[in-house]
């Protein structure tokens, strides 16, 4: 597993720069918290790292082929069960293994329920388990604890820390407290100031 190195990455939309000469390193096997105000390019950077958007220029090296993510929206398959959703990215995993992971985040009773019947917090936990179970060394988690109460947050955080040890994590968060709890480096993005004429 290598460090993920971003070198002078740029991205604009309709002529408006969102990322400009972004150079940073996401250390292998470590957590990096990505922070910044709305509109500073966090989602753009996440989408570039996940291969959903090409950068306009610059290079990114060390990115593994297998990726995993907790998206800002849950992006679950509503007609299918929590177990099916949680194991969606890892079809070879036995069901009982998936259920054990759901149990670890407090979803033992909801394992067979269709995702459409789950509350927001439950859906979030399913999405987190899905990301954890995917065979990937690099996980991007976009506000993973959104919608979780404090007790559930603690439970899920403990689960995440235990299950992603040794993996490279990029966690998008607005909370300084959360960043401090997660530990690791903090990458702060700032909006690009418009250039005067």
């Amino acid at each position: 597993m290598q460090d993920i190195v971003l070198d002078h990455v740029c991205k604009s939309f309709d002529g408006t720069p969102v990322l400009q000469n972004l150079s940073t390193v996401l250390p292998a096997g470590q957590i990096t918290c990505l922070m910044g105000p709305s509109g500073c390019g966090k989602t753009t950077l996440v989408n570039i790292l996940l291969g959903l958007l090409p950068a306009d220029s610059g290079t990114i090296t060390g990115l593994p082929r297998a990726l995993s993510a907790v998206f800002q929206e849950d992006r679950l398959l509503e007609e299918f069960s929590a177990t099916m959703n949680a194991g969606f990215a890892s079809p070879k995993l036995p069901r009982d293994v998936v259920r054990r992971h759901l149990q670890a985040v407090g979803l033992a009773d909801a394992a067979d329920s269709p995702a459409s019947t789950l509350s927001g917090g439950m859906k979030r936990r399913v999405a987190i388990v899905r990301a954890v179970l995917a065979t990937a060394d690099f996980l991007v988690l976009d506000e993973p604890f959104k919608g979780l109460d404090s007790d559930t947050r603690r439970l899920v955080l403990a689960y995440l820390m235990a299950e992603t040890r040794g993996k490279t994590l990029l966690v998008v968060t607005h909370s300084e407290r959360e960043a401090a709890t997660l530990g690791g480096a903090v990458l702060r993005l700032a909006p690009i100031a418009p250039t005067g004429e």
């Binding site: 996940l50 995993s68 993510a69 998206f71 992006r75 398959l77 969606f88 899905r130 995917a134």
Partner: protein, 256 residues
Amino acid sequence: MTASIMAPKFTKWHRLAAVGLAFCVWQLAAVLLASPLLLVSPIRVAQRLGQLLFEPGFYASVGFSLARIAAGFLLGLIAGSLLAVLASRWPLAEVLLWPYITAIKTTPVASFIILCLIWLDSANLSIFIAFLMVVPIVYANMLEGIRQTDPKLLQMGQVFGVRPLRRVLYLYLPQLRPYLLTAASVSLGLSWKAGIAAEVIGIPEGSIGERLYEAKVYLSSADLFAWTVVIIAISILFEKLFLLLLQRGYARLQRR
């Protein structure tokens, strides 16, 4: 003061009563016309239908037409779906397909039937005509369904490296369900009507179309109506069976 407008609620019993009333109107009209050639009574049609069920060759004729029209429908369903996938991936394909799809949609069925009689054996004409009727409907609905598939779910599949078959089964198929059901429901009835029309014109031996043609030649209104009832019954049963299988397929997928 505001008046609330509520749509009247009709149950299946109301609809059955409406059908019963329609039969009464039919019977009354037949009695008043007093000419079985012009309008045969529903009672006479029911009697003739009862006789047909025990006549030799009845089930062979039903099987002949059912097999061919069902085959045409299924082939059209597959072809329409594949063309929709093609058009969704390559815009050039959509442009290239447009004149053919438009021609099939707008050309009268009778024109196709007569044209195809030149190319095809009359025994298999109904397969091709049913196929032609189904393709544009399935193509249009499935293409729209593919385009309406939630892009965020597709991105999720892409990020997790989900294999193509799993994407089709779990990302596309559930979202295509309403479009597929609509396409199947509309095209089933149409494939039957067009398929039987092809048989009446082509007169393949042993088909329902041939029986309808004979009813016309021998001026037997009772036979004509009785066979029409048979066609309607088979069409409804086939549609219900197909949609039931489709629903069961989806239910099985969801239980995985």
